[in-house]
Amino acid sequence: MHAVFRPPVNWRHRRFRYRLVVWRCLNCGAVHHYATSICRRCRSNRVAEDKLPDRARLITYTVVKNPPVAFEKQAPYIVGLVEFEDGTRLVAGITDCDPEELKPGIELEKVVRKIAEDGESGLIVYGYKFRPVITRSH
């Protein structure tokens, strides 16, 4: 059986994908989405665990109509570039909206959704996506 998603890799990245836990270089500011003791950009060993906020602003987006393997079921879907308050940028799935509703600068909130499925029998991969903030009327 060929697995698109290898369980160890999926497991290793889960804290980032579920909760946006990152490892930030205190020297150059580079953000890593996996546990590391050395910054991959500047080789500094001053790397600390951090968490990105649950809110971000949309920079830009595109609509994927020809998805790669394991992402077919959700097509067409939106992939966006979002920016957090501290300037960190992240590519993320955008959900619960149509492309026409999206404008650069709108506020988005993090949710955890199904990202992909490895066929009928393989792993289901969950992770962050962003959606327009739920309107509170009360």
Partner: protein, 354 residues
Amino acid sequence: MGAIGDELPRLSGVAVHGYGAYIPMFRVKASEIARVWGVPDSELPVLEKSVNSLDEDTVTIAAEAASYAIARAGIEPDRIGAVYVGSESHPYAVKPTGTIVADVLGINSRHLSADLEFACKAGTEAVELVSGLVASGMIEYGLAIGADTAQGRPRDALEYTAAAGGVALLIGKSGDGAIADLEYAASYVTDTPDFWRRSHERYPMHGSRFTGAPAYFHHIISAAKMVLEDGYSLDEFDYVVFHQPNTKFPYAAAKMLGIPAKKVEPGVVCNLIGNTYAASSMMGLAKVLDQSKPGERILMVSYGSGAGSDAFVFRVREGILDKRGKAPLVSELIERKRHIDYALYLKARGKIRE
């Protein structure tokens, strides 16, 4: 509480500290389903039902509802010692839903976790188990979650109502900041084959009219009568929430028990979102908590096919006033909606096969 004797199966010192509901935004109108199958839309069981989107399942719905419960409680996730998720639509046959939900929420590994199953009362089973763990002192806080993306066979009566949604209760010791004390819990269970799904089958089977009198009504009414036999009177309840597989059943059960419809109406959501299965009665409770005042009492009775009912009595506390606004209300989630046609419904529910 003077009417209640010490010997009764009431809980002591257990309270809801947070509650959270989540409803996916897609809706399909019952009339749209009826149009496809040529059924007259004069007597449909609901107006419309919620449908999970392509990237939502019981894990994501449970996690979002639970995140709102934690937000309302205002506690650190590491204090949660149990995560129980009740559902009839766990994404994996083998691989717990609860472990994924706990990791998403940032709960540390030192906690109990189990997936529960008992048709539409799987969520309230979780409430009973977590309450027992809190009452015994084994855990400080626990999450009891009911969540489903319910399956309805195309053209079956259940297709009009089988919906998606989830509700989480964060339960801990009574005390400052509690939203509602849990005063009483008891269950009534029999072997009644009104609805079932065999292993590896995609859709459930049911006994049509057999799901009514010997199933839903017998268990709901028997469980409610246990509450009354154990010392409560109907006058003590400001709100009554029953499992709501359709809009008629909770009102009919209330009528049989002599409960006025006005006590049932605040918790009825089925007409606008359908039957959210393991979340159904808990969704009614969440909607009632959204509007209740300190001191008011709520009777909730779930129903799960196969069959059984869990009965609970909640007494609303002062904490509701500060905590209610910290997460979306059920009414706000109901209002957040987008209608889809039957074709998109089939796609969203994975009914299109290559």
